[in-house]
């Protein structure tokens, strides 16, 4: 690989040839595509804000989810530490940080579940009720779906780590997964601001 296949006179020695990891590039592209999907749902939410013909309105039923937001955002930090630990082949630390990430993510998704339960059974807000229900459940639900997918992958990674199958060779894969998780968290920041802060 070092010499020219074609025996062509090289004017200068070939520079070292390193390209970005395909996993990271692929994940960044996926994030771009997913961001566009979320953008459309956020636009729909903002477009229909306050246009519901009947109640309940966001101000009446939504509570600001401070605790679960803190949990989800801090899970971004723990997954970063997990990947960092794996890079230096400290598998035990990796397991611990991954477990913390999964736990924090689970708290978040459990909170969302409880919120939905209250909304549906106490406030009587479903996706059919009004435009707020339609846009709220689809936007938050889309995000929750992404959290669930991320949690499944993280749990798998945790299981492999506990079984000792995950070594520093797999650092790249965990890095890609952590990118996804960061994206899910970043989307939550947008959803949080749009739905719970400005939307109320």
């Amino acid at each position: 690989m070092a010499t020219s296949q074609y025996g062509l006179l090289t004017q200068q020695p070939l520079e070292p040839w390193e390209l970005p990891s395909r996993g990271v590039v692929g994940m960044l592209c996926l994030i771009l595509a997913e961001a566009a999907i979320f953008l459309i749902f956020v636009v729909a939410y903002i477009f229909y804000e306050g246009k519901s013909l009947s109640g309940p309105t966001p101000a009446e039923v939504l509570k600001i989810p401070i605790f679960s937001t803190i949990c989800l955002l801090s899970s971004s930090i723990t997954v970063h530490f997990a990947a960092h630990a794996l890079k230096h082949n400290k598998t035990r630390q990796t397991s611990a940080w991954l477990a913390a990430t999964v736990a924090l993510g689970t708290i978040f998704i459990a909170w969302t579940g409880m919120e939905w339960y209250e909304l549906i059974y106490k406030e009587g807000l479903t996706i059919k009720t009004n435009l707020f229900g339609t846009t709220y459940y689809s936007l938050v639900g889309l995000h929750a779906t992404h959290v669930v997918v991320g949690l499944l992958m993280l749990s798998l990674s945790l299981a492999f780590s506990l079984l000792g199958w995950q070594t520093e060779k797999h650092y790249n894969r965990l890095e890609v997964l952590s990118l996804y998780w960061h994206f899910v968290d970043a989307v939550w920041v947008v959803v949080f601001l749009v739905v719970y802060v400005f939307g109320r």
Binding site: M1, T3, S4, Q5, Y6, G7, L8, L9, T10, Q11, L14, W17, L19, P20, S21, R22, V25, G26, C29, L30, L32, A33, E34, A35, A36, I37, F38, L39, I40, F41, A44, F47, Y48, K51, S52, L53, I127, K128, N130, L131, G133, T134, T135, Y137, S138, L142
Partner: protein, 562 residues
């Protein structure tokens, strides 16, 4: 340990010592393959099948419209025909066939052994394939009762509130939504694969500034896919929620907005045109220089113009909605943005002309189609500029003028370039040349048929014939035009049969092509024809934009000048 000998022979139909295999083994090989070349070929073949189906639908419509008060097909069937024709052509012919060529060519052109994610690549293909089958399943299973099928009939842009459950009962619209959703998953997967391949799999020396323009354009196209197909996917999910869960996104009764669907659809719909035309540009960028015997003129300007088209195309969608009634400010913005697309496109046309200028032109079939493309794309661009002006669009929106305009782009530009690509890369894919003699027949027949159909189609449009009508009165003055247009469509059909005949005939009887039949300059011609599964025995190293020129002319290599 497998050997590579059987591969080439199997495809080239060669008489060498390939062990004869059962049909099951061959099917197994193709179903399980993750080789980018086989997947590319599967994309192309499946798209060609759907092309024939959608072409037959177009012919049926032309038969119905040939004479006034015709009853060849019922009004309901006509609605289904134009819906299925549009949906099939965009999602199951256009996208797959372009992704197919991209799949086949990009790794070869950048000196890689495969795509970045070979398994994802196979998955993308199967999603598109099953999506197309799901769409056509609607003909037999549309309403859930076997034998009482109804295909989607809401038009390919499926405006709300026609798609709402009360107005579109049964499952026909759901077939449309779900198959387009499936195709969207596939497109995003393919686009991820292309970008990751281009960024991470280039051979040593293949800097971004040395990449063939085809690869550049596919990269821009893939980036566009992320930001356009995703909104469509989101809108389809909303539509599904509306239809299945009773939400109110596009339900005007509950305060929802039908115009929002239009915006979401056209945020996808217009850039989609560029997603389709950029690969056509890409083919032109490779074919025109080779048959003009000159390097492409203005490589950096071509790259910049492509990226420019990508960006500008994101801000023009609402020119499809002038007749909806937007504010004067938005109308002005979208008129100006649409006209601005003409600037980078114009740069491209001038660069192609400058490439041909003073060259030693060889009028092979591929070059003939490319020249046809240049001329027709110019005309299509000019009618596009006409329609971009809002007052003109208010007059002719939703008329046959619009139909003629976009078919000029889709057929006159994209399909012509696709034919050129077939003639140009067929030797690489199969190891045999396509017949030039039959090819010339194909070109001239198709050219004549095309111009008879789509040049004249502008006229009934100006005379006021709306699109999507299933028949018309005899005294409107459209009669003679429609008859001639249908005649032109028949000539195009004959030309297409000639083309398919050429594909099949050349596969068995064509002249054996060497690795480099056109004396071309990009890396794919350094591999055998057809290339073995591993593409190149050694990873190539390139030192200029035209690596094969450097090999053939070591005393005057491009590498000295770049």
């Amino acid at each position: 340990m497998a050997t590579d000998a059987s591969y080439g022979n199997a495809l080239a139909g060669g008489a060498q010592t390939a062990p004869s295999r059962t049909a099951l083994q061959i099917v197994h090989e193709w179903v399980t393959t993750v080789d980018h070349k086989k997947i590319g070929l599967m994309y192309i073949v499946s798209a060609l099948l759907f092309l024939v189906v959608a072409g037959i639908e177009a012919l049926l419509m032309r038969i119905q419209l040939a004479v006034p008060n015709n009853t060849a097909v019922s009004p309901e069937a006509f609605n289904r025909l134009f819906t299925m024709h549009g949906t099939t052509m965009v999602f199951f012919v256009g996208m797959p066939i372009l992704f197919g060529f991209g799949n086949y060519l990009i790794p070869l052109m950048i000196g890689a052994r495969d795509m970045a994610f070979p398994r994802l690549n196979a998955f993308s293909f199967w999603c598109t394939f099953f999506g197309g089958i799901l769409l056509y399943l609607s003909y037999v299973a549309g309403s859930g009762l076997a034998g009482a099928g109804t295909a989607p009939d809401v038009g390919w842009w499926a405006y709300a509130p026609l798609t709402a459950a009360p107005f579109s009962p049964g499952h026909s619209t759901d077939y449309w939504t779900l198959s387009v959703l499936l195709s969207g998953i596939s497109s995003i997967g393919s686009a991820i694969n292309i970008v990751a391949t281009v960024v991470s799999m280039r051979c040593p020396g293949m800097k971004l500034t040395r990449m063939p323009l085809l690869v550049w354009l596919y990269t821009v196209m893939s980036m566009l896919v992320f930001v356009t197909v995703s909104p469509l996917t989101a809108a389809q999910i909303m539509l599904m929620f509306d239809r299945y869960l009773g939400s109110h996104f596009f339900d005007t009764q509950a305060g929802g907005s039908a115009v929002l669907w239009m915006h979401f659809f056209w945020i996808f719909g217009h850039p989609e045109v560029y997603v389709l035309i950029l690969p056509a540009f890409a083919f032109a960028n490779e074919i025109i220089p080779v048959f003009s015997r000159k390097a492409i003129f203005g490589y950096p300007a071509m790259v910049a113009a492509s990226v420019g088209i990508g960006f500008v195309s994101l801000s023009v969608w609402a020119h499809h909605m002038f007749t909806v009634g937007m504010s004067a400010g938005s109308n002005t913005f979208f008129v100006l943005a649409t006209m601005a697309v003409g600037v980078p496109t114009g740069i491209k046309i001038f660069n192609w002309l400058a490439t041909i200028w003073g060259g030693r032109i060889q009028f092979t079939t591929a070059m003939l189609f490319s020249i046809g493309f240049l001329f027709q794309f110019l005309v299509a661009g000019l009618t596009g500029i006409m329609l971009a002006s809002a007052p003109f669009d208010w007059q002719l929106g939703n008329s046959y003028f619009v139909v003629a305009h976009f078919h000029y782009v889709l057929v006159g530009a994209i399909l012509f370039m696709l034919f050129a690509a077939f003639y140009y890369w067929y030797p690489k894919m199969t190891g045999r040349m396509m017949s030039e003699k039959i090819g010339k027949w194909h070109f001239w027949l198709f050219l004549i048929g095309f111009h008879i159909t789509f040049d004249l189609m502008h006229i009934p449009g100006i005379l006021g014939m709306p699109r999507r009508i299933y028949t018309y009165e005899a005294d409107r003055g459209w009669m003679i035009w429609n008859l001639i247009i249908s005649g032109g469509a028949a000539i195009q059909a004959i030309a297409t049969i000639v083309f398919v005949y050429n594909l099949v005939w050349s596969f068995f009887k064509g002249k054996v092509a060497g690795p480099d039949p056109w004396d071309a300059w990009t890396l794919e011609w350094a591999a055998a024809s057809p290339p073995p599964p591993y593409n190149f025995p050694q990873t190539p190293v390139v030192e200029s934009r035209r690596p094969l020129w450097d090999i053939k002319h070591p005393e005057d290599a491009d590498a000295y000048y770049e």
